[in-house]
């Protein structure tokens, strides 16, 4: 017996023609992201099961790349460094930008524009070029930062080896990264602060709340969307960080005694230097899983409605 739709349904189906706009746009997006997203991803998965240098050798080795990855101490080191980066970037980045935004918020008119301009300037600089400048500023013991810090705080220049020391190298890179994007974060916070109605502060002041109290009880909670947004963006960036580390600790790659080795660098080295594309791809898969988890977390956070 033929399956037939009851007449009513059939009519409805015919009434909806194919929307050309939807067709064009959706199809373009589909094709593009298949080529640029889905295909590389599938290819990458396929690579993780192989041992290949792309030309003289290519064979199937099953899950062994993952097994080797788990047994590779440099991989774990890189993973730790990425999370360390995430923690510092997000926390210090947010705090500094919040403080600066709070300060700038209290100014008006021309001065406010000047301050915003000054803090935002590093954002428009090229990361590649600025990483170089900072590498020179960080020159151990006799460089600019070393002299300034030793002059201001009396720290012996012997201890100020920045990128040459295993304990401070990654931190120094993070400081540069935080410095550069402070402007964007500050501006986003400022915009959020501008939207908070004065009446809220008024009523708080009448009730006798100090400025600080107002800040913590009113400002910050109402900035939650911005906070989440920024935490999201910068945590993803921390897992994917590449240019600052590559430019500032490029030779040897990964800094003194591998203290700035991060996943992207590790992946790049395995693939293009070690000619082990399967191994590099396996690292990429790990990164993907982490990013996937992060994005899921952030979507959940975004979807919560914050009511006051």
């Amino acid at each position: 017996m033929l399956k037939q739709n009851p007449p009513a349904l059939r009519v409805e189906k015919r009434r909806r023609p194919l929307n050309p706009f939807v067709l064009v746009v959706a199809l373009s997006v589909l094709i593009y992201y298949t080529l640029v997203g889905a295909w590389p991803f599938i290819y990458n998965i396929w690579l993780t099961f192989r041992k290949t240098d792309m030309i003289t050798e290519d064979k199937f080795i099953g899950l062994r790349n993952y097994k080797y990855l788990i047994g590779d101490p440099v991989f774990w080191k890189s993973l730790w460094h990425n999370f360390y980066y995430l923690g510092v970037m997000v926390s210090v980045g947010i705090i500094t930008s919040l403080v600066i935004a709070a300060l700038i918020y209290r100014t008006r008119g021309a001065m406010r524009k000047v301050y915003t301009a000054m803090f935002f300037a590093p954002v428009v600089t090229s990361m590649v070029a600025i990483a170089l400048v900072w590498t020179l500023l960080y020159f151990p013991k006799i460089g600019v930062f070393a002299r300034v810090l030793s002059g201001l705080f009396g720290i012996s220049t012997e201890r100020l080896t920045f990128l040459q020391s295993t304990t401070t190298a990654l931190l120094c890179i993070m400081i540069m990264d935080i410095w550069r994007d402070t402007g964007i974060r500050t501006v986003i916070f400022l915009a959020g602060m501008d939207e908070i109605p004065d009446s809220l502060y008024e009523s708080a002041r009448i009730e006798g709340a100090s400025n600080l109290r107002q800040f913590f009880r009113i400002t910050i909670p109402l900035l939650t969307p911005q906070l989440i947004f920024i935490a999201a963006i910068y945590s993803i960036n921390a897992i994917r960080v590449y240019i600052p580390v590559y430019m500032m600790t490029g030779s040897p790659p990964g800094g003194p005694a591998n203290s700035t080795m991060v996943l992207t660098l590790f992946m790049y080295l395995s693939a293009f230097y070690g000619m082990r594309f399967g191994y590099g791809s396996a690292t990429a898969m790990v990164m993907f899983v982490i990013l996937f988890g992060l994005v899921l977390l952030e979507i959940k956070a975004f979807q919560q409605k914050w009511e006051y």
Binding site: A129, I188, L291
Partner: protein, 284 residues
Amino acid sequence: MANPKGMNRYRAVKFASKFSLHLVLILGGLLMIFPLIWMIVSSFKPSLEVISVEFRFFPKIWTLRNYSRVFREVQIGRGYVNSIVVSSAVTAFVLLSATASGYLFAKLRFRGRDLLFFLVLASVMIPPQIIIIPLYILINKFGWIDKYQGLVFPFMMNAFGIFLMRQFMYGIPSDLIEAARIDGATDFRIYFSVIIPLVRSSIAVLGILIFLWTWDELLWPLVVVHGNEMKTLPLIMAHFTQAEQQFPGESLAAATLVIGPILVVYAFFQRHFVRGLSMTGLKG
């Protein structure tokens, strides 16, 4: 106010706090731009002075040698052209695709919409370093290695842009769209006449962001550019520093040439940069 002395004290305290506020901000601002100032000043020092045992902020010997060497060794003019062409092309494509997709995802319904959106979302999670290999293979098949098309294609659509535009378009009242539909307008028409004008400011924001991000892109040009002709500025910069590690003066000159013009543009248009970003409309 009954107490004039108290009034003065109040004014004094208020002035002091205002003063210290501005002082802190000025110092902070100067600290922020200090590396840029140092970069420009030091680019006029001979390389041996940039890193030297005796510390000077201003050059002992002012020299243009670094700049002349950069111009001689490197086709920086060509780099500018390439960067401008590529960044502009990408920005144009992204704005077009992001607004169209934003509208699509925000306001139109169709089968598989959520699945398609998930595909876009997933592409963000793939680390760029590993897209490189299959992408290289793909671009090679198209014959676009070492050409503008190869530089532009991987960036033509931007997931972040799509998210942003979708977010904005949620805020557009659906009645406007319904009204236009009743008037018989196709979605193309609605897109051009209704949607675009409404999100003009966010287009400006997105445009600026995409332009800056594309300008700064290093990894992909590193892989896809083979000859001298197609290098973009960050690539020129990276190559120059790698090859000329010993000559920090020249690297600083190259850095100034790469960063300088953008800073100048920024100085003139900074109002727009900042205002645009503040309208990211992040409502809870």
